[in-house]
Symmetry: C2
Subunit: 175 residues, 2 copies
């Protein structure tokens, strides 16, 4: 299974692509960070992010997309941009006809480190080990996106398959 | 000038189209509310919103798009969906090559009622009067979207023209 993970952000958006099957080490395909200029107009930034993510989905042909779920505990100004970026990321997957699954930061941390309270350094260290990389992926936004993709592979895309089946059943019944 | 205003929301997204010039009453072209089902998968909801807004922009050919800026004072769960919907709305305008301007709720209220602290009923009453409608637009989400569009017409799209000029200058210098 090939998964494209997105750690959404308006200034820096991490993207990681891995391939694998549940319970076995994944293989790194590629990782990126999409940058947008904070001095630019919001519409130009979202457009750049949309085009970049759409291009990466087209290039890597993942079978599903995993996006980190956004919470509003953080800085108010930042979180709005992050939420907008996550909407663009989910849309990029949906427009390509792919199942899109969101995960909380704790779910991702627990999946790759065994603890939902792991810090960024631990996540990066485990991603480096799990993908058997010679060096940690840089910048850290890319490591988080790779962790998301690994998390989704290991969960076998289960939730998204169930959700897709439920959606089909519901829409089949309603239309 | 024809403006398409969007009052972003994931469950209910108001859209209002008006035509006019600064300082004179605007003419109503159309208004809509795009609904998405809270029981559906987030990706399906954002996809439906994206397609609906893209279709409405294509149908009404506005010269610019105005979107309400989202703040996080509200309910945490709701505001994330609202922020994602606003990202989709800004993107729909940007993808059509249109200037997109965001306004705070206070700016919109002040523009149509004279007070940034006006309540929803006052905004609806003024929109009804300003557009010379026989009845208030329903539901209220549509009235807010129309208020946004009126606000943008009356401001003459000034800020977006300035922003666009600044963007052009900046990009011209950088590339």
């Amino acid at each position: 299974m090939r998964v494209l993970g997105v750690d959404p952000g308006l200034t820096r958006c991490g993207v990681g692509v891995v391939e694998g099957v549940p319970g076995r080490p994944c293989t790194l395909i590629a990782y990126y960070v999409v940058y947008t200029d904070p001095a630019d107009d919001l519409s130009l930034r979202l457009l750049h992010l949309d085009r970049s993510l759409t291009d990466l989905v087209a290039e890597h042909q993942p079978e599903s997309v995993a996006v980190e779920r956004v919470f509003s505990q953080h800085n108010v100004r930042t979180v709005m941009g992050t939420a907008q970026a996550s909407g663009i990321a989910v849309l990029a997957g949906a427009r390509a006809g792919l199942p899109v699954q969101t995960y909380t930061p704790s779910e991702v941390k627990a999946a790759v480190t065994g603890s939902g309270q792991a810090d960024k350094a631990q996540v990066t260290a485990m991603v480096t080990r799990l993908l058997r990389l010679a060096e940690p992926p840089k910048p850290a936004d890319a490591a988080d996106a790779l962790a998301l993709a690994i998390c989704h592979v290991w969960r076998g895309g289960t939730r998204s398959k169930l959700a897709a089946a439920a959606d089909r059943a519901r829409r089949g019944g309603a239309r």
